[in-house]
Symmetry: C2
Subunit: 371 residues, 2 copies
């Protein structure tokens, strides 16, 4: 079965091998050396002033960011389940919440954010997904961050990059907190979240808030190459292995280029067989198709062609399907995914199979001259 | 190197193999089936009304327990670093805290708890370690729980069993929340915590508190064999494998018996070579020795004999060493540990080596007639 859900992504064999070695104690020079090396790689990936690894899923890191960086009112951008979650976290912790809500195919505009900031002077942090996985769209986070900082540089910009870090180069000039999760473009099992922080964020954190997710406690420990609580040792070992693998395979820039080319080629291939891209601004992390036969297509993909893609959640259940683009993906695999979508359409009697999807994908991906 | 720290414990090869299989998506019938099976095993292990798995270290589960089960004042028993932590968690979340503090070798008495409860009517939860790892002692948690419930059955009893679950049979009659961690007697990598809850605890949780650690959200999801946030899939797969392994090797009762026999045999062996057991009431999870040469012994064990045991923390640094007893341990390994301690004493010129430790261990463990 080819796993093409936008997280979890498949874990490469060498990474699984590294993680299945004998157990290491977390309070040892051996593990601290691994932690230190991993941190160095993470600074390359995040380009931020500080990086922290937490033993939790991405939602835990979202909570850590909100609790430590918002002390009054959070502006959260809700164009989907994950944007909505930021608001729920704020409310659960007794913070005030202002929400900008749009359809799940619609990115927030810079103007909407600016207006909200101007009319709510209590807002001291804004939380937004770079890539909102619910509908597979890209929010204009960098432009938002720039506009917000011009109005009030003290407003903290929390960017959820759980399905963006490792997918594309993110300009963090105006971002105070960038969040990543292990099971996405980092190709690891779930259970490790990573935060990149600006110096301004570190200043605002001060003594920190909460306990398990108190970022001040973690900053103090992780600068000494250890963690406040028991480290997710195995996942850290896996993280180092995958970051070294990415480096060996040509580095981050090559990964970003391949991801962008692949996402673009998949869109062309699927549009060529008559399918519609759901989000108005597609993220590079996944390709989202809205289709009346979405459920049937997913079922045929799984049963007949050995391909597992994700569906939609909540009101989009049965109405979309989402194909992962994150991580190191072999062309023969993703080529088979678009090919199998075309085969599924033939099975549904929607169009005759003529190999268009596979052909277009390869022409675009390998930059062959199209006729 | 033989890893004999009281967590992390070594992960058996078959468990590491199971965890290194290809990635599985967490929102699938395949994973739900694994989750369901794991839950069934956990009900056997915990004997509680509900069990929940959380993607975090044990500290996260301690926070989840305190936040959801204490709404006013927490009584925490501090005979070490982990008991102290419960109080810190309460304060970090704006709760009131009453602490009973003793030396790290001294268990709390039932009377001390009863007195604290009677003089502080605001106390609505008590948090205590079954096995306090800082000094390796056993608190009389079951007796405390019984006495407290007789005074006020509404007081929630939070028992930290991170180094007790899987070590010994715990009578949960009066315990509302029992906490376990993956990297201890469950022989897994760190990153998964487990909570066993009573029906009274579930009632008090109500709609829950917090967000990532809101237990109401998890109860709702996990009863449907899924998790609220992304599951620690790989660790769950590992947990099922280890629980099945324990079953195949004779079941929990056999594990408990072997652990108790081993811990007892190690104490006899180490006392026979003149060493002193630190805690007044030793936990079965680890054997803790206080010794003026503790640091040198640890160093010799590691360098010359390939044995990694834990030292002490804070004011006990360099003053104790702790030998793990948790999990499935082969007699030849633990026998070598006590033997190597005897060899270390000879190296230090403390006593001539005559093989006593190994001999006493084996006589006791295999219940041979002692002369």
């Amino acid at each position: 079965m080819l796993l093409f859900t936008p997280g979890p992504t498949p874990v490469p064999q060498n990474v699984r091998n590294a993680m299945s070695d004998e157990t290491m104690h977390h309070r040892t020079p051996e593990f601290e050396a691994i932690f230190e090396k991993t941190r160095k790689h993470l600074f390359d990936l995040f380009k931020s002033d500080e990086v922290l690894m937490l033993a939790s899923s991405g939602t835990g890191a979202m909570e850590a960011a909100v609790v430590n960086l918002c002390h009054n009112t959070l502006l959260n951008v809700n164009s989907g389940k994950f944007g909505e979650r930021f608001g729920k976290i704020a409310i659960a912790h007794g913070l005030k919440s202002v929400e900008i809500k749009n359809e799940w195919d619609t990115p927030v505009s810079v103007d909407e954010v600016v207006e909200a900031i101007k009319s709510n002077p209590d807002i001291d942090a804004i939380a937004v997904q770079i890539s909102e996985s619910a509908g597979g769209l890209r929010h204009p986070v960098e432009a938002i961050a720039k506009a917000v900082k011009e109005i009030n540089p003290n407003i903290m910009i929390i960017a959820d990059g759980i399905t963006a870090v490792g997918v594309e180069k993110i300009d963090i000039t105006n971002i105070d907190c960038l969040i990543a999760g292990s099971q996405k473009a980092l190709m690891l099992p779930p259970g490790l979240a990573i935060l990149g922080l600006s110096n301004a964020a570190i200043e605002k954190i001060g003594k920190g808030k909460g306990y398990y997710f108190n970022l001040a406690t973690e900053i103090k420990s992780q600068r000494k190459n250890t963690t406040a609580w028991t480290a997710a040792t195995t996942l850290t070992i896996g993280l180092l292995e995958i970051l070294e693998t990415i480096e060996k395979k040509g580095g981050l820039d090559k990964l970003y280029e391949e991801t962008a080319t692949r996402a673009d080629a998949v869109i062309s291939a699927l549009q060529a067989i008559g399918l519609h891209i759901y989000p108005k601004t597609p993220a590079l992390s996944m390709t989202t198709i809205d289709d009346e036969n979405a459920s049937q297509i997913r079922k045929i993909l799984k049963t007949d062609f050995g391909v597992n893609v994700a569906g939609g959640q909540d009101h989009l259940e049965g109405k979309i399907f989402r194909i992962n683009q994150m991580g190191l993906i072999a062309p023969y695999e993703i080529s088979w995914v678009v090919n199998s979508v075309e085969l599924a359409l033939a099975k549904l009697g929607r169009r005759d199979y003529d190999g268009t999807a596979n052909k277009i994908f390869n022409e675009k991906y390998f930059k062959l001259a199209s006729k």
